[in-house]
């Protein structure tokens, strides 16, 4: 199954990429699984595991790292927001 993954702000800069489309292994079923799967690529991706208070959104809704993901989802990782 394919998902579209987005990265913002300091994460985007650290990774040098703002989005990618990824075919997920069968064992990646949650946002936390996806974070771990990406972080396991090594530098610079390990920043995903090291980021304190990493935020994740699925289909533009903030969710926890235990949220389910399914084919076609848009999954975004980003640091805590600092607008306003």
């Amino acid at each position: 199954m394919n998902v579209n993954i987005l990265f913002f702000a300091s994460l985007r800069e650290a990774l040098g990429v703002s989005s990618e489309s990824l075919a997920l292994p069968a064992n990646v079923v949650s946002t936390g699984d996806l974070r771990d799967h990406l972080a396991a690529r090594g530098e610079p991706w390990s920043v995903l595991a090291a980021t304190k208070n990493l935020r994740v959104a699925v289909n533009q809704q903030m969710v926890g790292l235990d949220a389910a993901i399914k084919a076609g989802d848009e999954v975004a990782f980003f640091p805590p927001v600092t607008g306003g």
Binding site: F8, N53, Q61, P79, G83
Partner: protein, 171 residues
Amino acid sequence: MSVSVQEADFDVGAEIAALSAGREDVGAVASFVGLVRADKAAMEKLGDGDTAPNDATAVQAMTLEHYPGMTEKALDAIVAQAHGRWDVFGVRVIHRVGRLLPGDRIVFVAVASAHRGDAFAACEFIMDYLKTQAPFWKKEETPAGGNWVDARESDNEAAERWAPGQKSVRS
């Protein structure tokens, strides 16, 4: 059109006036303008102390990044919560993105109601939730280089005041 995310500046007086234009039931419009502070980086690092900012961390400019699509949804959801919680007639939220200079307006929130209590509470609620729920990120330019602004614990605490059962919420 209660929520806008835009690069352009906005007209505060016109936005406030629009919330009561042609109506005779609006008794109160509470509003908020957030601006870029030159001393932001230094102040963030020192907490809310009033120590003089270090020149090396003086903010020369700030770039606001956001998550197009989600930003508008998050703001709409916050406005909907305010409507559900207080008797408000209208809400306007404007958040700028892109590169801004010290003194520039960043954000605007205004709420119209019959009574001031509802207008103030809803306006402050929207700002507190926007600060923790809406996907915007600030990167500052300082003489020492660029740096992403850290989230503040005080912003989380401000948002948590509005949780059900919190005594400190005025409504």
